[in-house]
Subunit: 161 residues, 3 copies
């Protein structure tokens, strides 16, 4: 099964990622690396989610939100490289939870995204290094933001001429 076939089997609707209003690129290809900016949860209908984890959302709800952030990242990656099949593996994710000061279940929350990536790229290539940590605040008071680095298949890498 290819990553695109794995995604199709999940029957998920990918959110549409809007053009950034601020000054950054959602993704950037550098040789065999695909850098991904911090992504926030946007539902397939375009609505946003805001609130603190441990106050407005339980850790299970936040885990579902982290999965949605994963879908947003996947949507962005596809916009950039055309097909998930061009991505070889997950190198690194940095999972940020907008939580109350005593929150302690960040790994459980970020697993929502990590599980999705493992479903798409497999239990080895879909699982990279990770930190799952708590922020003091996040833009628009989103509960979860995740940034990532992926490795592209060599034939998909873009090198200097």
């Amino acid at each position: 099964m290819t990553p695109e076939q794995n995604l199709a089997n999940l029957h998920e609707t990918l959110p549409v990622i809007p053009v950034p209003k601020a000054i950054y690129k959602p993704c950037l290809i550098d040789g065999k690396y695909l850098y991904v900016s911090g992504h926030v949860p946007i539902r397939p209908d375009g609505t946003r989610i805001s609130g603190k984890v441990g106050l407005d959302f339980s850790s299970d709800e936040a885990r579902d939100i982290a999965r949605l952030v994963g879908l947003c990242i996947i949507s962005s990656v596809r916009n950039t490289v055309g097909s998930l099949d061009r991505v070889k593996r997950v190198t690194k994710i940095f999972g940020m939870v907008n939580a109350v000061p005593d929150f302690d279940r960040h790994p459980h929350v970020i697993n929502g995204c990590s599980e999705l990536f493992a479903q798409i790229w497999g239990d080895d290539n879909g699982v990279g290094t990770r930190s799952a940590v708590g922020m003091g605040s996040l833009p628009d008071r989103v509960p979860v933001e995740i940034e990532a680095v992926f490795e592209l298949h060599v034939e998909s890498a873009e090198f200097d001429a």
Copy 2:
């Protein structure tokens, strides 16, 4: 226009970055990558800035502070590679705002740095991936800290012998 010419046209005075008291390097060259440690705001006269964004500083004031952090990064980059013309593009910035728990305008704040980089390296090469997020606290209570990765022009890269 070259990046050095663009900087000259901004008529900015670059802060002098002190030798680190703690155990780190402000910048490190690795092949074609230039890694930049988290930089904090230091004014050209050497004075520091401290306080929380959303309490001691408005988001517009914090945006000016983020631009100052960008100038500190530029000063450090120049110390390390000699000329901004050796830098090809911005790969990634991680913008950290020391904000109150309900602050929500991190992208507006970090745009202060991103705008500066776009003025110097252009709207394409000067704009990379980014996360703009809120920390619980920062060293010396600085309101903004930014770390970055730049890509050097191939002829400026330093590889193993």
Copy 3:
């Protein structure tokens, strides 16, 4: 002196890093890079540490905890590449302190880890770029979490076939 000899001379007992319960790899080799996930303090007897810096721990106590996190990273790196002698240098560390909102001594805390790395890999190769910052919360309420990127010696790098 080699890094392994330097470690032996410190007479430290390395903690055993448990297999992750969450979905991530503690370390990942990519070409000449060794990416290291966020590591938390685990004592050699397997016990954990939790609490806020500036409330439950002083900055000096937190510095010792950051050194322990450094030992956990070293234990993980050895599990992955077999010997510390395969690591050429520290490229980057991201030091996260779970502190009260007004805490200001993050560099002092993270120096506990940086000093250890300098003792093992030397004052040049053992010192990379760094950010030392304050988080709103951390998993299991640990006081310090550190992630890192190391560079491997070329002959130890793993490239695509």
